[in-house]
């Protein structure tokens, strides 16, 4: 409390004799100030700038302050945009479903099948090991595995299982989804593991005593209680996949488009306002998706 009040002590105030008490509202404002300032400068201000620039005019040489909706008309009026959004949503849905299933599976195993806490922590840390290398490296290392003359294909051909290498392993939707699932599953495991660990074991015992089967316990007790973790994990995965460009670019061999890749192309051609308009559209869509997730699961209530 004293640190909060220090600025006040520097001013010679008449209130001093009565002991310095700040109005409660002021204290609350002061406490909120650091976060508000950081978010304001590093989050709200940039987003505001993007929103403003998205209405500007541009050509090769520069940007011209203006208020025109042409950037939005061009963005929303083109079938490329729609197709790209659909494609990105397709990736998001597939990756979300897979990471949720795998993430829950792993977390369930860690929380209920591993008995000692030490072992749980050890195994959990093992899950995080891939994070010791960069995203890009983990993604690129799939290429020699999946390529035409890669590990998988040459093994299968050598074993005589397939006559010719499988082409769709690399530079395809399969490769993109595989890499994304690989990159993002841990974001599901962590929050779900966290909520599973908080489940009171006596609830499960009670259910068992009341005659519930394992499936009933899973479906009626554990999954409802794990929902907040799933929701948090889903928010991570959905936002990350919606905003991804490098995975799509590298794993599809440049053959597929994603929303962020489209933005990057526009930026490299100096079409900043067009990219900004795209960014605003993407932001709105992702916010709607997050709102939908939060509508299904009330994180604050169930934590």
């Amino acid at each position: 409390m004293s640190t909060v009040l220090t600025p006040e002590t520097t001013e010679p105030a008449p209130a001093r004799t009565r002991g310095f008490r700040m109005p409660e509202a002021a204290i609350a404002w002061l406490q909120a100030a650091p976060l508000a300032l950081i978010l304001g400068f590093f989050f709200l201000l940039p987003i505001l700038t993007i929103a403003i620039v998205s209405f500007w005019d541009y050509d090769f040489a520069g940007l011209y302050p203006d208020f025109m909706t042409l950037n939005y008309v061009e963005t929303l009026g083109s079938w490329v945009t729609w197709k790209t959004y659909l494609n990105t949503l397709k990736y998001t849905a597939m990756v979300w479903g897979l990471t949720l299933a795998i993430g829950f599976w792993v977390a369930y195993f860690l929380a209920f099948h591993v008995r000692t806490t030490t072992m749980q922590m050890v195994l959990f840390l093992v899950c995080t090991v891939p994070f010791l290398t960069s995203n890009i490296i983990r993604m690129i290392s799939w290429i020699p595995v999946l390529g035409r003359n890669g590990l998988v294909n040459s093994t299968l051909v050598d074993m005589g299982i397939i006559p010719v290498p499988i082409e769709w392993l690399l530079y395809s939707d399969f490769a993109v989804v595989l890499a994304m699932v690989h990159l993002n599953t841990l974001f599901m495991v962590t929050p779900i593991f966290n909520t599973l660990m908080r489940i009171d074991k006596s609830l499960i015992e009670a259910a068992r005593d009341a005659g519930a089967t394992s499936w009933q316990i899973l479906w009626n007790v554990i999954i409802p209680l794990a929902k907040p973790g799933m929701a948090i994990g889903s928010i991570f995965v959905v936002t990350l996949v919606m905003a991804d460009f490098s995975t799509v670019q590298v794993m599809s061999g440049g053959q597929s488009a994603s929303v962020a890749l489209m933005m990057k192309n526009q930026m490299s051609l100096l079409q900043y306002p067009a990219a900004a308009a795209n960014a605003v559209v993407l932001l709105i869509i992702v916010l709607l998706m997050v709102a939908a997730i939060l509508r299904v699961v009330d994180i604050r209530k169930e934590l």
Binding site: A61, V80, I143, G254, L269
Partner: protein, 435 residues
């Protein structure tokens, strides 16, 4: 890298020296001098009155060795910044005070020069102007060559008078840029995997190579390769590949979309290393490529050929332009730098990298007879051919793909260019990538 940081440090202290910075730069300068072996002293006045030139560009010729040699020969410190071509174009126009020398390509110059940020050069001050190959003056390598399509360098090479925003029709006294580096690009192939003769740009669309081809996903260059392909296949005849009409763009892109949907392409590459990996791993057997990428694949011991094709090459060229704000001693230093650049050492260096120097006669003096024979005359190498960094590039007996300088640069079909319908082209290109 460390060398460059050292030299950079010595530069920034010309105004107001404090005792501390003096000590610091003294130490750094000593380090730089010892490092580059120039204890013998600077030959020109720039040693007493240190001059720094800030050069930025697309990176092909932003080579540390050149900055070091420049420091040693002239005492001029070069601060080099490399960017990609789009960023280079924008920086040239929007931040004209941030550089002294612009190292840019000719097709970018077409956009940049009219912005008034580059001052033309007086050819009387260019010591080696006469030695510059005629390709950059008249567009013809030899008197009977045909002028290529696209943004041919000579079309943006001259202005009538200082301050002009439009280019002169022919040769004048005012040169917009001194050409430094250029080359002829074609398709790269894996001779061990294609299994037949490759003679035409159309061969990349051969159904036999379905799923084994790639073109580059940089719209302004990719569209040119696509144009070479379409014309070779007889789909369309362009009035000027470098400046297509919207109808021509539509035909080209529609053709590409169809080929993509039929699965002709394995991937589209955006960066140098991607093209190397696609080729080296056997994912593709024929694709758009740049010459250093071919060399990189070969250096892995994998057969790769920069295949000459009957329709000719797609060519590109870069040069050095003087920033409009240069004057006085800085301007003199810039001229001296450019004269030094064309005096031969750099030319030899670039030739030995597989590019071409603009002043061939001066470069010849800095190359061995065998190097000149291999790189420029298209003769079989007598001994091993070394890169400027001292790595073996080719074994004795090798012949350069495409042959001699005249054979390669004499068969340029089009130059990299910027189209009037640029924005429309880029939009359609994005559709192709999304399709």
């Amino acid at each position: 890298m460390t060398e460059e940081t050292k030299t950079t440090k010595t530069t920034k202290t010309t105004a107001g020296l404090s005792r501390r910075t003096l000590l610091k730069t003294g130490a750094a300068a000593t380090g730089a001098i010892i490092g580059s072996g120039l204890v013998t002293g600077f030959p020109t006045i720039w040693a007493q009155n240190p001059i720094t030139l800030r050069q930025f560009g697309t990176g092909v010729s932003n080579i540390n060795a050149i900055a070091e040699k420049c420091k040693a020969d002239l005492g001029i410190t070069l601060e080099m910044t490399a960017t990609d071509s789009d960023a280079a174009a924008q920086r040239a126009v929007t931040q004209p005070d941030s550089y002294d020398i612009a190292d840019i390509e000719y097709w970018i110059l077409k956009k940049v020069f009219p912005a008034g940020v580059i001052q033309p050069m007086d050819i009387k001050k260019l010591k080696y102007y006469d030695k510059i190959v005629p390709l950059f003056k008249t567009g013809k390598l030899t008197p009977d060559s045909v002028i290529a399509q696209g943004t041919a360098p000579h079309t943006v090479g001259y202005v009538e008078k200082a301050g002009d925003k439009t280019f002169a029709k022919g040769e004048t006294e005012l040169f917009t840029m001194v050409p430094t580096i250029y080359n002829a690009d074609t398709l790269g192939i894996r001779p061990d995997l294609v299994g037949r003769e490759i003679t035409s740009w159309a061969d990349i669309m051969d159904p036999a190579f379905k799923g084994k081809t790639s073109i580059l996903n940089i719209p302004s260059i990719g569209i040119m390769d696509a144009a070479m392909i379409c014309e070779a296949m007889g789909i369309i005849k362009y009035a000027d590949k470098g400046n297509m009409t919207t109808a021509e763009i539509d035909t080209t892109i529609d053709f590409l979309i169809k080929a993509k949907q039929d699965g002709q392409f394995r991937a589209f590459w955006k960066s140098f290393d991607e093209s190397v990996n696609l080729m080296a791993s056997g994912e593709v057997v024929i694709q758009s490529m740049w010459s250093p990428a071919v060399a990189a694949v070969r250096s892995k011991g994998i057969a790769c050929k920069y295949q000459p094709l009957k329709e000719g090459y797609r060519s590109w060229g870069g040069g050095l332009g003087l920033a409009a704000h240069l004057e006085g001693a800085q301007l003199d230093a810039a001229y001296e730098y450019i004269n030094w650049y064309t005096s031969g050492w750099v030319g030899g260096y670039l030739n030995r990298q597989g590019y071409y120097s603009a002043a061939m006669d001066t470069a010849k003096e800095f190359m061995s007879a065998d190097e000149w024979g291999y790189w420029i005359e298209g003769k079989p190498a007598a001994g091993d051919i070394m890169s400027p960094e001292g790595k073996v590039m080719e074994k004795a007996g090798a012949v350069r793909d495409g042959g001699s300088f005249e054979e390669r640069m004499g068969k340029v079909a089009c130059w990299n260019s910027v189209m009037d319908e640029d924005r429309y082209m880029v939009r359609r290109w994005n559709e192709f990538i999304a399709a």
